[in-house]
Amino acid sequence: MPAPVTAANGSEAQRDKLREDPPEKTCLFVRVPNFSYACQAIVVDRVPALLMDLTHVASGDDRALKHQVAATLESVRVLDRETYVHTYLAPAIAADAQPGQFLHIRVSHLTAPLLRRPISILWSDGHERVQVLFKVVRTGTALLAAKREGETVDLLGPLGTPFPYDFARDAVMVAGGYGIAPVYFLGKANRSDHNRRTLIYGARSADQLYLRDELKEAFDEIIYTTEDGSLARKGRVTGPLRDLLAARENLALYACGPTPMLAAVADEAARVAAPPPCYVSMENQMGCGFGACLGCVVRTHEGFKTTCKQGPVFDAREIVFDTAAR
């Protein structure tokens, strides 16, 4: 299967060329809001007239569209003392957001904290609203949590690479902690009868497994794990993952969580006889968030790559997981 093509700006010249010189067969990737770009490729004879009028033509140029917006914080949902869901009114970002991408949020207009904070997109309605789920760690996230409904927040996004998604394989999505955010988006955006979506979601204890009601509608099957055994299976996500990999075939893995978890997921995927595709969303200290500072690099087998622009989603086989991280 060719690499999925995101809806990129087709230039007028590209459209003219299509009109003048229509190819015999065309593979369309039509991105419907809410369904990310993972819609099935439709192979058609000739170029349908409709395409000629679309403002966005898949052109093979996969440069994401980025926006800096002063978004209104429409609603705040407090999940627990340190975990929040923010809903922002940000139509430009919502229209382009895809699962796996993140927002770079300016939490203060003063000079400290200076840098933006990267937070994954939890959900986009495709035209108006984007949501994030975040945990208060220190100053930056505490300032974000202190924002009130109606305030404006400076958002940059959507940034980074989205998860590729393959409808021809059953999806196994693995999340640890707040890593649930992009995984939820991925599961919910790709609801379909074409394949089965299984979520394996682990946390330290039951109260840190968030959005359990919402998750039900996004996945066909959910397996929880807790390290303290307060809910479901005691232990880590790798236990049930190993079982699934042994019992089923034709899978694709998508994971987001702490780096040691991602390393473990990559290991599990590589252990089986026919390793399934495995995509991981990496975390890293960031400066700019769009490829200019080279501060966020991760080691890959092809040298350093930027987490913010060439990632955060990578094919797990590319990543050189630091042995110390395991």
């Binding site: 200076l114 840098l115 200290q285």
Partner: protein
């Protein structure tokens, strides 16, 4: 309307707002946010003879109103610049300036010769001040005699004006500035980052893989401003001032201290349209103060101006 065009010796810029090396990629990285042609100049990421992978991570750490980086000059190398990367400069009206770094004086000379002949390169910036690469342990920029020698040889080799970027990690910045001007530099850019350290108390280890890094951002602004003041006061030479410029007022302060143009670095990461915003704010300041030509501001805070 104020005339915002500036001249640093023979180097003419459409306006005094430039973007600092290492913070703006190779010129097109911010295109989705604004048209790079709006800028006076673009200082591209530091180029070396061979491509460099850069330092291990973590490479960045945030400090109060500052950022410590140890990127380690990750770059494509002069050959790729010569062969293909230069094509990306086509159509950008801003002056493209190549920031170059050598391990030896010979390497500087070779880089000056080659980089200055890359199409669209309007000027060179000799980075004799990077705290993140080690050559003989000390930055060349700390030794006035060495700095003069490098400048002289690069000026002779170069086909375009040569600016020299000075390190603030010296006792007397004026001494080094005087040396490079004597060596034939068109002007100086100051300052580069301050050698700095962050420690993680929990882990009892330095935060950065490279241990030390260079501090930039608002935290360094008062010191950078003082250095621009001193160099202008002593030498009256063309200066591109930088260090923690976040807004138009910061930029005007650098002009008043003696800079002819300014450079925006870390602010680009926080606000990708920082540079055009700053240009607009400088224009507004000039309108408010009835400034006819931007050069009236250079050094205007000095006594007797």
């Amino acid at each position: 309307m104020t005339d915002l065009s500036v001249a640093l010796g023979s180097l003419r810029l459409r306006n005094p707002v430039t973007v600092a090396s290492g913070t703006f990629g190779y010129g097109r990285e911010y295109e989705e946010f604004f048209d790079p042609s709006l800028l006076g100049a673009i200082f591209i990421k530091g180029i070396t003879i061979r491509p460099r992978a850069g330092n291990e991570t973590p490479r960045l750490v945030e400090t109060p109103s500052g950022l410590i980086n140890s990127i380690g000059l990750q770059n494509i190398g002069i050959e790729e610049l010569e062969q293909s990367k230069w094509r990306e400069f086509e159509g950008i009206a801003a002056a493209i300036c190549a920031n170059v770094s050598g391990n030896t004086v010979d390497e500087y000379e070779e880089l000056a010769w080659r980089a200055s002949r890359v199409p669209h390169i309007a000027a060179l910036e000799l980075n004799i001040s990077c705290p993140n690469v080690k050559a003989g342990g000390v930055e060349f920029g700390r030794n006035p005699a060495v700095a003069r020698d490098i400048t002289r040889r690069c000026v002779a080799a170069s086909a375009v004006p040569v600016l020299v970027k000075l390190t603030p990690n010296v006792t007397d910045v004026v001494e080094v500035a005087a040396a490079v001007m004597e060596g034939g530099a068109t002007g100086v850019t100051l300052v580069n980052t301050f050698l700095a350290l962050a420690i993680d108390a929990e882990r009892r280890r330095p935060v950065l893989a490279n241990v030390f890094g260079g501090l930039s951002g608002p935290a360094i602004k008062p010191i950078a401003l003082r250095m621009v003041w001193q160099v202008w006061g002593a030498l009256r030479c063309p200066i591109i001032g930088m260090g923690g410029i976040m807004n138009g007022t910061d930029a005007v302060e650098f002009l008043l201290a003696g800079a002819t143009a300014v450079s925006v670095g870390t602010a680009n990461f926080v606000n990708p349209t920082a540079a055009p915003d700053i240009l607009r704010e400088i224009g507004e300041y000039c309108d408010r103060h009835g400034v006819k030509h931007i050069s009236e501001l250079t050094g205007a805070a000095h006594p007797g101006s």
